[in-house]
Symmetry: C2
Subunit: 346 residues, 2 copies
DNA sequence: TTGTAAGCGTTATCAA
DNA sequence: TTGATAACGCTTACAA
C-alpha cells in the first residue's frame, strides 16, 4: 500500500501541500493560479496519485458514503430498490455500502452500527417492518442515535420508525385489486398471507379483505392461509388451500375462486402448486400477486398484480434521506392494478 | 457529527488513550488488565462511543471494505452474484461497496478509481467482458495499478484481465445443451445471440453451434439472430426469426425447431414474442435459455436452460480475491443442463 | 495567491 | 501492563 500521497505530489510540483490540495479539489478558498494548478495536476497524473478517501473523510468531517440495508439482495423486490438507490446515490456523488441481512432482524442493528462507524452520510433501509415492538424500539433508538450524530435516514416500508419513510400503499393497492377482481366477476376469494407479524403482508391482506367486505363479500377464515413471504411459502400455502377446498368441491376444481398471494414471488409459488395439483391457473382458479416484479412480467398466464414502482421507491428514499434533515416525512407511493390472464374471471 | 471520540472514553475511564484503544479492540500488543478493560468498555457504552472507521483505516493502513462492480444490480443475474459476494464478504468481516455501471463500460474504470480512493481491500467485478481491446487494456492497466497498491481483484467472466477469475464454462454448457436438445430429437436449431462484441453471448453461441456441427447439424446463418443481451433483445430477435421463417413454413409453425436464447431473460422475451405471434412455446417451437435464474424457475412451460451457480460464483470470486494474492488464478465453474417443458422434443 | 501549521480519531512505537 | 507521542494523509484556518 505504499501509496503516493499529496505531499509527494506537492513536492513533485514544487508547491506546498496546501496548494496541491486546493489545486486538486478546488476547495472553498477560491483560486489557485492556473499554471500552478496545471503543474500540480500534471504531477499528480505523473505519479498516479489517488486521493485517500479515508483521510479526506477525517479531515473534512464527512464521508461520501450512503448505506443501504436490505433483507436479501437476490430478491428482485430488493434488487429493484437497490437499483434506484445506487442511481440516486451516484447522482449525489455518493457510493453505496450494501448490507444484506438475510432476513435476520438483529443484523439490521449490527449494520446500522457499522454504518455509523463508517460515518455514512445517510442510511436507506428497505423492507417492510415487523410487528415486534421491542425490535422496533431498538431500531428506533439506534436510528435516533445515528441521526443525533448527524446522519440522515429513510425507510421504505411502514412509517413507524420516526424517520423519513416511503410508504407503499399496500392497503389501497390490495383494495383496488380486490375491487378489480370483483369487477371481473369473482365472488369467492382466498388469501395467501405471509407470517402474522409481517406488516406488509398484513396490510395487503387487510386491504384486500376489507375492500371485499365493502362489496358484501366475505373471505372465510379457512381461506386465509399463512406462510412464509417467499416462493416456497406461496407454494405451501396454495397446496394447503387446495387440500382444504378438496373436501367441498372435488370435481369442479376451485372454479370461480380468486386467490390473492400477497406478493408476486409467492404467487409464482402458488401457480406452481396449482399446476402440481393438476389444475390450470386462470381456468380452474384465478391467482393474483403484488409488486409487479419486472422479471415476471412475461410469465403465462400473465400474472395479475399491483404494480409498485420499486426503482422509484429507491430513488425517492435516497433523495429524502439526502435532502430533508428535519422531522420525519412520510411519502406515500401508490400501486396500480394490472389485470392479466391469471385472473380472467370465472 | 459531534461524535464521542476515543479520547473522551479514555478520560471518562481514567486511562490513557493508548489503553483505551487496546481495551476496545485488543490489539496485537497483548493484554490490558481486566478491571481496566471493564472500566473502558463501560465508559464507552455509557458515552455511546462508536469507533471512527475512517480514522482506524488511516491508522491501520487498511480498510474493511470490498468493492463490487456489476452492470445492473436489478438484473437477477447480478443480484444473485451480489448475494454471494455480500455473504462471503460478511464472513470475512468486510462491508461491500456496491457500484452498478448501468452497462456503461467507462463507469467501470471510474468506479475502480473510487474504490482505489476508498482503499478497498479487494474488488470483485461481475459480468462478461466485451471484445474491445482498448477498453480491456485500460481496465487491465487500472487493475494492475490497483493491485500494485496492495489491492486484490477477482472477476466473474472471461479470464482476460490478468487477474483472478471465476470463468463460467459458457462453451461447455452451451455444447451440452445442444447435445441434450439433439437428444430430445430436435434437428433444426436457431440461436438468439447477443451483441457481437459480447464475449459471453459469443461463447454460448459458439459452444452451441460447434457442438451441433459435431453432431452433423448445421445452424444456417439466417437462424442466428443478433440483438441486445436483454429481455427486449430476446423479444425482438425472436420476432425477427419468426418473420424470417414465415416464408418457408407458414402453416406448420416452426415445428421441430429449437431456439437457444443465450440467457434466460432473453429466453423470456423470446417466449413472449412467440406467443404474440400466435404460437405455442414447446409445441410450435422449442425455446431454451442459459443461467437458470431462480425467479424464473416456475414459469410455464418450464424453461430449459443451463443452470449456473451464480451465488456460488459470487462467493468464490470473493474468496479468491481475499485469499490468494499471487498470480492470476482461473477457476472454472460448470453449468448443468436442465431440460424442462419448453423443449419437449419435436 | 501561496504557505505554515493545527487538527481530524486512531493505531502503534517506544519508554517507563 | 500502561502511557506519551509520533505517525497516517488530508483539509482548512490563519499568516504571509
Amino acid at each position: 500500500m505504499a501509496s503516493v500521497t499529496l505531499s509527494d505530489v506537492a513536492r513533485e510540483a514544487g508547491v506546498s501541500l496546501a496548494t496541491a490540495s486546493r489545486a486538486i479539489n478546488g476547495s472553498a478558498n477560491r483560486t489557485v493560479r492556473p499554471d500552478l494548478q496545471q503543474r500540480v495536476l500534471a504531477a499528480a497524473a505523473r505519479l498516479g496519485y489517488s486521493p485517500d478517501a479515508n483521510a479526506q473523510a477525517m479531515a473534512r468531517g464527512r464521508t461520501s458514503t450512503l448505506g443501504l440495508i436490505v433483507h436479501d439482495i437476490a430478491d428482485p423486490y430488493f434488487s429493484s430498490i437497490a437499483a434506484g438507490v445506487t442511481t440516486a446515490a451516484e447522482a449525489a456523488g455518493l457510493m453505496v455500502t450494501l448490507a444484506s441481512t438475510g432476513h435476520r432482524p438483529e443484523k439490521e442493528l449490527a449494520f446500522i452500527d457499522v454504518l455509523q462507524s463508517q460515518r455514512a452520510r445517510a442510511i436507506v433501509i428497505a423492507g417492510g417492518r415487523q410487528d415486534a415492538e421491542e425490535a422496533n424500539e431498538r431500531l428506533r433508538a439506534a436510528l435516533a442515535t445515528y441521526r443525533s450524530r448527524g446522519g440522515t435516514v429513510a425507510v421504505i416500508g411502514q412509517p413507524i420508525l420516526d424517520v423519513h419513510t416511503v410508504a407503499i400503499d399496500n392497503v389501497g393497492g390490495a383494495a383496488e385489486l380486490a375491487r378489480a377482481l370483483h369487477g371481473r366477476g369473482y365472488r369467492e376469494f382466498a388469501v395467501l398471507t405471509g407470517p402474522a407479524p409481517h406488516l406488509t403482508a398484513r396490510e395487503r391482506t387487510e386491504g384486500f379483505t376489507t375492500a371485499l367486505a365493502g362489496l358484501g363479500v366475505e373471505v372465510p377464515a379457512d381461506r386465509v392461509v399463512a406462510s412464509e413471504f417467499t416462493r416456497d411459502g406461496g407454494y405451501e400455502a396454495m397446496t394447503e388451500l387446495i387440500s382444504r377446498q378438496a373436501d367441498h368441491r372435488r370435481r369442479d376444481g376451485l372454479g370461480s375462486l380468486a386467490v390473492f398471494a400477497v406478493n408476486d414471488v409467492m404467487a409464482m409459488g402458488a401457480m406452481a402448486a396449482t399446476r402440481d395439483a393438476g389444475m390450470r391457473v386462470g381456468e380452474d382458479v384465478g391467482i393474483a400477486g403484488f409488486d409487479d416484479i419486472v422479471t415476471l412480467r412475461d410469465v403465462t398466464p400473465g400474472l395479475s398484480t399491483v404494480a409498485v414502482p420499486l426503482v422509484d421507491a429507491g430513488v425517492r428514499a435516497t433523495r429524502m434521506a439526502l435532502d430533508s434533515d428535519g422531522d420525519a416525512v412520510v411519502e406515500q407511493l401508490d400501486g396500480a392494478v394490472v389485470l392479466r390472464d391469471s385472473t380472467p374471471g370465472p
